[in-house]
């Protein structure tokens, strides 16, 4: 194993830096409070958290009406998280 010297870098806010962009997207999409008892719908690879089970279908339908044909006919899958009682 021919390793170069170890390195430590401090991220800047420069969003032209791909790694800074990845940090940022990770925080926004994978960290933060996520709610329980909601329907999580995955649409084109993006998890959408809709709160309020009784109106979720309406929201999905409304959302689909506004999506492009490619997206609305594409990878739509729904999974129900455990409902808090």
């Amino acid at each position: 194993m021919n390793d170069g010297p170890g390195s430590i870098v401090f991220a800047q806010d420069d969003l032209q830096d791909d790694f800074s962009l990845l940090d940022l997207l990770d925080h926004v999409l994978n960290q933060g409070v996520i709610l329980r008892g909601n329907l999580v719908i995955s649409l084109a690879g993006v998890d959408l958290v809709y709160v309020g089970l009784d109106v979720i279908l309406t929201s999905v339908e409304t959302a689909l009406q506004h999506m492009s044909p490619a997206l609305s006919a594409g990878t739509l899958s729904a999974k129900k998280r455990s409902v808090k009682t």
């Binding site: 170890g6 933060g32 409070v33 809709y50 309020g52």
Partner: protein, 219 residues
């Protein structure tokens, strides 16, 4: 009207000069259940999810960053969308005690993060056999874990708490750092001796997320 939830904060929190949020929708400040709640409102929630989603995510981040620069926040994962204000209020009224306690607990803290690994970890291991490849991976795995201990030590008293987890390609360390200790934290970490070939990336300050211990286990 659908509501895109950015975060909650204490009632002293203001918009801090914020105007536009995701997809240029105005950022609104509501006060519900003794919390300041920051949302955008729209009759058509699909606008927040326009392709590429990355653009919306970056706009979402800009809102959080602006608010966090002035006060502690509990950010919500993008996109968290409530159907209407009554739905939002029901949720907040049920969790206001817990959210308020966390905001108070972390009122003067930020989260600093470390990513520790080997660049191009999958391809950089040059071996002649699969078993040697696995041995090298194992050695690197242990080296990363050992260095995480060194990082924690180097952070010293500047880090009130440390948590970490392994991903497939790297170790992620999370340090809870007082806002006034961030320069000290960075200076301390910079003194750590990084083993050959290892790469460490430090980012932050971020709003506290990794240390949010909810009663039902959900972050």
């Amino acid at each position: 009207m659908s509501l895109l939830l950015y975060c909650v904060a204490g009632t002293a929190a203001s918009l801090n000069g914020l105007h536009a949020g995701v997809a240029c929708s105005p950022v609104l400040r509501l006060e519900i259940a003794n919390l300041a709640v920051f949302v955008s409102s729209s009759a058509d929630s699909s606008g927040w999810l326009r392709a590429p989603v990355r653009t919306s995510a970056l706009e979402f981040h800009r809102v959080l960053r602006q608010l966090f620069s002035a006060t502690a926040i509990l950010p919500f994962r993008f996109p968290t969308i409530f159907e209407d204000e009554p739905e939002l209020a029901r949720h907040l009224e049920g969790r206001s005690g817990e959210y308020g306690a966390l905001l108070e607990k972390f009122s003067n803290f930020a989260q600093m993060e470390a990513r520790v690994g080997y660049p191009n970890s999958e391809t950089a291991i040059a071996t002649h056999s699969g078993s040697e490849y696995l041995r090298q991976r194992q050695r690197r795995f242990h080296a990363v874990e050992e260095f995480a201990v060194e990082l924690r030590r180097a952070a010293g008293a500047a880090a009130t708490e440390w948590r970490q987890r392994m991903t497939r390609s790297e170790l992620r360390g999370f340090a809870l750092v007082g806002r006034d200790k961030i320069p000290e934290f960075k200076a301390n970490i910079a003194q750590a001796l990084v083993p050959a070939g290892m790469h460490v990336r430090i980012s932050g300050p971020w709003p506290v997320t990794e240390f949010l211990d909810f009663s039902d286990g959900m972050p």
